[in-house]
């Protein structure tokens, strides 16, 4: 019962409130009126026809796919590396977790400096190594701004991926590998034939959680670029924020967050279906 009350108060109520809000006309003029008109799907229509919506959706998808791909592959590489026992492996793995403890705003400031076109360390390196003639204004160029914020987010996400995958690796009994080696399976074959299938539950959870965290990202991008220049790094949550709190179109802002929720809902459902398939094997 207490759990039920908790879920109703903390989860159902805000979701329901947001859903109702998205069907009402709530903007600057009507915010303080005691009753608000229901306008059906008008807010959704407004959001979808908003010129920024297609860009935001595209950016959200690119950002999420790109971040997850790199976080996952690099995280997995690190997890495999640290599963080998070599001196200081534990310490090094621990030190990677530090990035998880840095507040997002601090990360955004750090990367703004690293990526700065005039004084940035990354440009310094690129020019010294003669990859580029003059510094790239990473966050000030619509062609590179999204890549810039992705870089920061990948950096944040790697240790999280590594940690979950590493704990999955330790659950695999080492004697299976020995048996496979005796049967003549090489390292690559052992990785594809044994490690990946046995890691499946960890991979599923890390990808699902990664999607949820990445798709609804707001603070990091807002602090690094504010979604700019010219919406080149605007993702759906930033669009929703701007609609609600810059333009005071609260109904449309609610609609935008609900569109975001639909995507999250699909991914979580997919996870539940996939993980349900796993269970009978046990």
């Amino acid at each position: 019962m207490p759990a039920f009350i908790y879920i109703v108060l903390v989860m159902i109520y805000p979701l329901a409130f947001n859903l109702i809000l998205s069907f009402q006309e709530v903007d600057m003029m009507t915010l303080m009126k005691p009753t608000k008109a229901f306008i059906g799907l008008e807010n959704y229509r407004q959001v979808i026809t908003n010129l920024t919506f297609p860009i935001s959706l595209k950016n959200s998808l690119i950002f999420t796919a790109g971040c997850i791909f790199f976080q996952f592959t690099i995280g997995l590489a690190f997890a495999l590396l640290f599963s080998l026992s070599f001196p200081l492996a534990g310490h090094l793995r621990g030190s990677l977790l530090i990035t998880l403890m840095v507040p997002q705003v601090a990360v955004s400031i750090l990367f703004r400096w690293l990526l700065s076109g005039d004084y940035g360390l990354i440009n310094e390196l690129l020019t010294k190594l003669h990859f580029v003639e003059e510094g790239i204004a990473w966050l000030s160029d619509p062609k590179t701004a999204l890549a810039g914020v992705m870089l920061a987010n990948i950096w944040i996400g790697i240790p999280f991926n590594m940690m979950i995958l590493a704990s999955g690796l330790t659950a695999i009994p080492p004697d299976i590998y020995e048996a496979a080696a005796v049967d003549g399976a090489g390292p690559l074959k052992r990785f594809i034939g044994l490690t990946l299938p046995l890691l499946r539950p960890s991979i599923l959870i890390v990808l699902t959680l990664g999607f949820i965290y990445t798709f609804r990202i707001f603070g990091l991008i807002y602090a690094m670029t504010g979604g700019g220049p010219i919406n080149s790094s605007t993702v759906l949550p930033i669009l929703a924020y701007k609609l609600s709190f810059l333009f005071f179109e609260f109904g449309q802002g609610a609609a935008a967050t609900n569109i975001l929720l639909i995507f999250l809902f699909i991914v979580i459902s997919a996870y539940l279906i996939f993980s349900a398939k796993e269970e009978p094997r046990e």
């Binding site: 600057m28 915010l31 303080m32 076109g117 160029d141 619509p142 807002y222 010219i230 333009f247 609260f250």
Partner: protein, 399 residues
């Protein structure tokens, strides 16, 4: 004789205890929200006020700039706003139209000051449909800062700053060298970008209703040309005025900058001077600042005690000076000892040409159309003509 003295003593002690009791019971607490950061003299001033009497206590809450409007909107929707707030003046009309603020027209009519006593721009930003919804407390405007040493090095006379667009551009060209940009402005995709470019639009004799006018295109091409020639950094599209433009100038990464008086307390070791923004068809600058606004259904009588105190000339003068902004009352600004030096005089003079943004409840959308056009042209996504044509279309729908 002795009897009367005892009598006086008796009544006096009753009077004192009555005062003490009424003081303790009569203390009314009012809450104010603002984005003014901790450590600003504003909080010292509020402290002084709180200690100066025992009727009203002002409790100030500081909310980061980007968060303030959001929090206020939520508080208003929930019916739990503070008693009063400080609002950035282009946003004032939005909240007035929302119905959040109390109409104080009648209260002002019985006050010692009227709208005439204030600088017209700041005052105008509090008015909506001929009714008063607030009082300006801080105002500022943009001027041209320039590095005296760099002027000398480039063979320019530091006592003769640029006065026309052509001069500004040619000075910027002369001052640009490896590691140093001739000029710095903010073209960031926020209100600040709009704020910085509008003076140039106005200087060319047009306003936001005529963005598809060739004169507007000229004003935008001026900036685009600076960027193409490398007189300004490519980063100006993501540089704000305080931590971007000011920092670049203070670290001698730019020889001139367009910026406001709030920089004055934080100019480091740079040897700089300030001049009026160069003009073209006419002189113009943008007016910024914050206003007090009072929420409906809250304790405005108590807040008014604070208002009466803060607008006393001495208190206002000190507050404005230590805050790094101009006193909003004309008489105080003109007689203030702190604004009589060369830099101060320039800002007071510039204030005469400072124009408000809006007031319009849809200002945030109008502003977005403007800074988007600015960025599109600077980044070469669209031509200046096309960018402004698109912005004009958006603004036409809003106005």
């Amino acid at each position: 004789m002795k009897k009367t003295r005892r009598c006086v003593g008796f009544f006096l002690s009753i009077a004192i205890s009555f005062l003490l009791v009424s003081g303790a019971y009569g203390l009314e607490t009012v809450e104010m929200w603002s984005y003014v950061p901790e450590g600003n003299y504003l909080y010292t001033a509020i402290d002084i006020f709180n200690k100066s009497q025992n009727q009203v206590k002002v409790v100030a809450k500081n909310i980061p700039f980007g968060e303030l409007k959001r929090q206020v909107a939520i508080a208003v929707a929930a019916g739990e706003p503070p008693d009063f707030m400080m609002i950035d003046n282009p946003d004032h009309a939005s909240f007035t139209v929302m119905g959040a603020y109390t109409d104080i027209t009648d209260r002002i009519a019985n006050w010692e000051y009227s709208g005439e006593d204030f600088f017209p721009g700041p005052w105008q930003s509090t008015v909506w449909e001929n009714r008063g919804y607030g009082i300006p407390i801080e105002t500022n405007t943009l001027a041209l800062f320039y590095n005296v040493d760099m002027f000398k090095e480039a063979g320019l006379d530091p006592n003769r700053p640029p006065t026309t667009w052509e001069e500004l551009t040619s000075y910027a060209a002369k001052l640009t060298k490896p590691g140093v940009y001739g000029l710095s402005v903010s073209a960031i995709g926020t209100e600040e970008g709009t704020f910085q470019w509008l003076p140039f639009l106005w200087q060319n004799g047009v306003d936001i209703e005529d963005l598809d006018n060739p004169r507007a295109v000229e004003a935008l091409e001026l900036w685009v040309n600076w960027m193409k020639k490398g007189y300004v950094s490519k980063e100006i599209v993501s540089m704000d005025q305080w931590s971007g433009v000011r920092v670049q100038f203070v670290n001698e990464g730019a020889a001139m900058m367009v910026n406001g008086p709030w920089c004055l307390p934080a100019m480091g070791e740079v040897n700089f001077k300030v001049a009026l923004l160069p003009g073209r068809v006419e002189k113009a600058s943008a007016m910024g600042g914050v206003n007090f606004a009072f929420f409906k259904g809250k304790n405005i009588d108590a807040v008014w005690e604070f208002i009466e105190w803060v607008y006393q000339p001495d208190n206002l003068e000190e507050l404005a000076y230590k805050w790094g902004c101009l006193p909003v009352l004309k008489k105080v600004a003109e007689t203030s000892p702190h604004w009589s030096d060369t830099v101060g005089k320039v800002f007071i003079e510039q204030m005469k040409y400072a124009r408000p943004r809006g007031p319009h409840p849809k200002w945030p959308q109008i502003s977005e159309a403007i800074y988007t056009a600015l960025q599109e042209a600077l980044l070469g996504v669209k031509t200046s003509t096309q960018a402004l044509k698109d912005a004009a279309k958006k603004i036409e729908k809003l106005i």
